[in-house]
Point group: C2
Chain length 525, copies 2
């Protein structure tokens, strides 16, 4: 029981201490002076410059409250020209800058580490162009993903990406972090769907690559460098993106699977039988289902019969998949999957889905399932999956890892970690939960370790073990969350020395003074 273990808010101080252990403020950066603030106010007006300590709080910490910086000023430009002027000035003054979109990242990439100037894209949220024939959209980088999706939706299109944070994340942040999300399996990565972008390098030079052409082979594809650079090269000011046609028919199934092997067999069947209409394949383990239904208002798993009333938001037993304990949800399955289709013909899609369900149930890969029969039901099922991250934060401290691994062995990491931590005194009896969920269609596992509080001894059991494990299995230490501050010292587990050196040299070209998002992505020399 969490209450018994004395769970409180995570201890920020402990986290900060660990994170900054090896990082010192780069003395080459100057500190923001009153003269600087006066310049910023001259460019942006006083409403665009935030320097009040209380007003700065949300700019200085991430939504997990895990990363806390100490910026003295946050800026809210409205135009590309203003962004360019600000960066030119900051370069000339050697003021470090952290770009911030919706601040929904998970690796500390969008908050200051020390006293960097925050440049927020929140006031840059205009939609600049939409082509109703081709579905190409141009928007300023601060436009919120969900707002763009609704705008496109009214015109028969949809954004080619979707993720849990859609209500607050900015499209510029999505592109800067190469966000993957729920439907990459169908609509591909942003390296394919971003048609153009405009941005300012760290020195204030504006790079105008804002085209809506599907094909354009004219020199190096420079926009690709900004996709996934996490603000270390400059600031993206506008994005041109290829929207997908909004599907006439959407189906969503929630399935219960008796083993992880059954999960991968179901994935293969989905690819084979659903073919071109398959739009998402997600999985979560039993513990994730418990977490989401316990900690979030109104979230339930329709495949789980609740045998006894819940004991309140923190009540009930929680354990890893396969663990046996007297939980309120004793009848729940070890794994759940969400399988979604997007298609143009309801009858065809239903036939394909029926054929798929018959196949996986007759072979025993799926033991129970439900098909959403309304948008509201589909929304409720998606909330079970999308709420996991929030539920984990509500439970207490959480160590988040986002890795790519070969699908067949993906869940081994969760089990290996669970045993490892239990052997080290951090089992479920100590309130530690090791859970796994994610985008199985793309080989992307979210490994999360929930604990009563942040704890350096626990962390030392997790890292660098998790990175070594992933590296040994030819995986990626960051499938979609990025490197940020969290993994900057671990980049070499995924990238060789030649690659890292080329990244440094390219950063010197685009951000010559090196003011952009320091301490992030690239490891210290």
């Amino acid at each position: 029981m969490l209450a018994r273990l004395g769970i409180a808010r995570p201890s920020y101080v402990a986290v900060q201490r660990f994170l900054h252990a090896a990082i010192e403020r780069n003395a080459a950066f100057d500190k923001v002076s009153e003269k600087d603030v006066a310049f910023f106010e001259q460019v942006l007006g006083s409403s665009g410059v935030i320097s009040d300590p209380d007003a700065l709080v949300p700019f200085n910490r991430d939504w997990q409250k895990k990363y806390v910086g100490n910026a003295k000023v946050a800026l809210r430009p409205r135009t590309t020209q203003q962004v360019s002027e600000l960066l030119r000035y900051c370069s000339s003054r050697r003021l470090a800058v952290v770009p911030q979109g919706g601040n929904t990242g998970l690796v500390g990439g969008s908050v200051p580490v020390f006293d960097e100037v925050v440049v927020s894209t929140a006031a840059m949220n205009r939609i600049l162009h939409f082509d109703e024939v081709s579905g190409t959209l141009i928007a300023q980088s601060g436009a919120v993903l969900q707002a763009l999706d609704e705008y496109a939706g009214q015109r028969g299109f949809m954004m080619p990406l979707d993720l849990g944070a859609k209500g607050s994340c900015h499209i510029g942040g999505n592109v800067s972090t190469n966000a993957g999300g729920l439907r990459l399996v169908r609509y591909g990565s942003l390296h394919g769907s971003v048609l153009g972008l405009e941005g300012s390098g760290g020195d204030g030079r504006v790079l105008d690559l804002l085209r809506t052409l599907r094909k354009d082979n004219t020199g190096f594809d420079l926009k690709q460098l900004f996709i996934g650079a996490e603000g270390t090269l400059g600031i993206i000011t506008a994005v041109a993106i290829q929207c997908a046609p909004r599907p006439a028919s959407v189906q969503l199934a929630l399935l219960a699977c008796p083993s992880f092997q059954a999960v991968t067999a179901t994935l293969r069947a989905a690819r084979r039988v659903l073919g071109e209409v398959l739009s998402a394949v997600e999985f979560l383990d039993q513990a994730c289902s418990h977490l989401a239904t316990r900690h979030l208002e109104g979230v339930r798993n329709p495949l789980v019969q609740q045998l006894q009333p819940l004991e309140g938001p923190q009540g009930g037993g929680e354990g890893g998949a396969g663990a046996t304990h007297g939980s309120a949800d004793a009848q729940s399955a070890p794994f759940y999957m969400l399988v979604e289709t997007h298609g143009s013909d309801v009858d065809h899609d239903q036939q394909k889905m029926e054929r798929f369900l018959e196949s996986v149930m007759s072979e025993g890969h799926v033991t129970d399932g439900t098909l959403a029969t309304s948008e509201a039901q589909a929304g409720a099922i998606w909330r079970l999956r999308e709420g996991i991250s929030e539920a984990l934060v509500r439970r207490g401290a959480v160590y988040k890892y986002d890795v790519s691994l070969p699908t067949a062995v993906m869940y081994d990491l969760v089990e290996v970690m669970r045993s490892r931590l239990a052997a080290g005194g951090y089992g479920s009896d100590a309130g530690v939960l090791v859970v796994g969920y994610g985008h199985i269609g793309d080989g992307n596992l979210h490994l999360n370790i929930s604990a009563p509080r942040y704890d350096d001894a626990l962390l030392s059991l997790i890292e660098p073990f998790v990175y070594e494990y992933v590296s040994r299995h030819n995986g990626s230490i960051s499938a979609e969350h990025g490197i940020g501050l969290m993994k900057a010292q671990c980049l070499s587990y995924s990238k060789g020395a030649v690659a890292v050196e080329l990244m440094r040299r390219i950063k010197e070209v685009v951000d010559p003074v090196g003011i952009m998002n320091p301490y992030k992505v690239l490891p210290p020399r």
Copy 2:
């Protein structure tokens, strides 16, 4: 009649004179000495070093015989290590290098301009790995696209790109030039489907990014720089690519359209009705159909009744769409389209195709059509489309432009050019044909001007007019062919000064001595 106009082989000398008008050999490059050849032989063995003048001919000129260089040596490495050694040596000796794959390019990117050392990937054609569950393929860069597609096909997959030159082009060249091709509309660009690559920078440093992960956000996505760099940064030695599942059902329709407006209406209907199974939408004008059926053995257009026997390979009237002249194919339509579907269920796909055909025929967008009922029929229809390029070369001199333009106004360029040239004395009566075809589903027009011989006065009517026109309409001066030698001086029509300067600086990082494929892509300073 072509014979009457005295059409002969194109005059290479004239072309070369024009192309090299503004280009001088960079005196900073050294000339290949006997000592250099001895070193190459030491690395590759004597069979890997070609220096016999006759044997060098195919390395020195492109298949169009439009670009002719003067290399004294061509090298055929077999391993990444050898490529790296060769480039390190050439950098130290300041010997310029041109990488060469299948040498099927159209912009003079893969042949020497002067005496550059040719490094051919022809001996690097091994398949290194194939994952039969996920469909990820790793191959050396010299593997031929068609060979890879056949290999994948035997395992239930297909390469995510297809183009006319598939029988000779190398996968490394495809990636280096970011080849688009026939099915980009469905399977996306190589920026999305290339999962990893390995290459050597101009200084011989090996960059190992050869992963098969669908998602990997660990630092800047450096592989993207090599995709489309046309060998100006280094040499790609191996490629990891995501194959697509081979479709269970393939349908192909050849349609006749009465106007270009009908073509675009048919495209919109195909997107709407065929939705997720649409895999290719191509168009060709009447003149293209005439060219392919006249100049290529065994190619015919099943929608055209041949009213009288053909007069041999160069017989018959040829003219632009809309032009009226007493041709043997008087009943042919102004435009033809190929509409293809790839799907997982034959019945569903046939229903969708029937619905699509009913829709476009009832609205008058399509006046005639045929559905391929066998692979052989489909192959014959594709030959009509894919043979256009070869037919143009057989007819005589050809000026090729490959542009992106907004779909609705795409064909205007063909008509404007036709009028412009006719007004300048280069009408169809002078044997000049202005034709248009291409990947309409991607906004990609191939504008081709066929003439009895290369002619500077004709060229001066075409260029820079064509680039100015495209730039004014926010198009791209190279949709998929790349820049190569042909358009290096025109890059600024598509890319601004800041972008070009960043490209130069990035090249300095990856190819510090500047030996890689000089005179190409980047304009002279």
